[in-house]
């Protein structure tokens, strides 16, 4: 299938969302630092949100603040936005909880690097 530059430009939000998803996953995957992992998770989350919001977009339409009896095509789909609003709050909840866990782990192990923690644990196991 010949892919033209227009295709990229037209679907840039979807492509961006996918790329961000993979970058987030890469961040979670390769960094032993727990804070970095949490940031990676946040990047993944925002990428999904971006994807969601892009679904609802209609070019040339207005924001979903309407007058009575407005035609449907002139306003973007409000449902994805409403869902993402919920999603963002959910994300902050998870992030806050993960961060508090990180604080606790730092207190317990003295480090927030996963590989160091693994070493400490295996050393403890062998004792």
């Amino acid at each position: 299938m010949p892919i033209e530059i227009d295709f990229f430009l037209n679907n840039i939000n979807y492509i961006g969302a996918m790329v961000l998803f993979v970058i987030g996953l890469y961040t979670v995957l390769t960094h032993p630092n727990l804070i970095k992992k949490v940031i990676g998770i946040n990047i993944m989350e925002t990428s999904v949100f971006l994807f969601f919001v892009s679904i609802g977009f209609i070019s040339g339409a207005n924001a979903p603040i309407v007058e009575q009896g407005q035609a449907a095509e002139t306003v973007v789909n409000p449902l994805p936005s409403a869902m993402i609003l919920t999603g963002i709050v959910v994300a902050i909840g998870v992030t806050a909880f993960a961060l508090s866990l990180i604080v606790k782990i730092h207190e317990a192990y003295g480090t927030i690097e996963l590989d160091e923690i693994m070493q400490i644990r295996s050393a403890e196991k062998n004792d």
């Binding site: 996953l25 890469y26 977009f57 603040i65 449907a72 409000p78 449902l79 606790k104």
Partner: protein, 100 residues
């Protein structure tokens, strides 16, 4: 070695995801399947149903208010969890208040 595998894996994933975009409904089209009778209902009936100009507000607090209750619960849960894990605040604070 692990790095190569990681890149291969993520590259493959990215490739699959990007390939799939070729088949997605094009971005920004008004006839995409997501813009169906449901969203039309929100836009056209929304003002009458809820009397609220901000449709997003109408959706989160009326049409899908139960989601928002869940969302509020998520926040509550997060706080309960954080307090449960870090939580020295509760008792110290109570004591402090009693002294005053």
């Amino acid at each position: 070695m692990t790095k190569i595998f990681t890149f291969l894996m993520l590259g493959g994933l990215l490739f699959v995801l990007l390939t799939s975009i070729t088949e997605l409904p094009t971005f920004g089209e008004s006839y995409a399947p997501a813009h169906n009778e449901i969203s039309n209902h929100y836009i056209e009936q929304g003002p009458e149903d809820t009397n609220s100009p901000n449709l997003i507000g109408a959706i989160i607090t009326d049409y899908r208010a139960f989601d928002t209750l869940g969302e509020a619960t998520v926040l509550f849960t997060a706080i309960a969890a954080v307090v449960a894990i870090l939580g020295v605040v509760h008792h110290k604070q109570d004591k402090g208040d009693n002294h005053e």
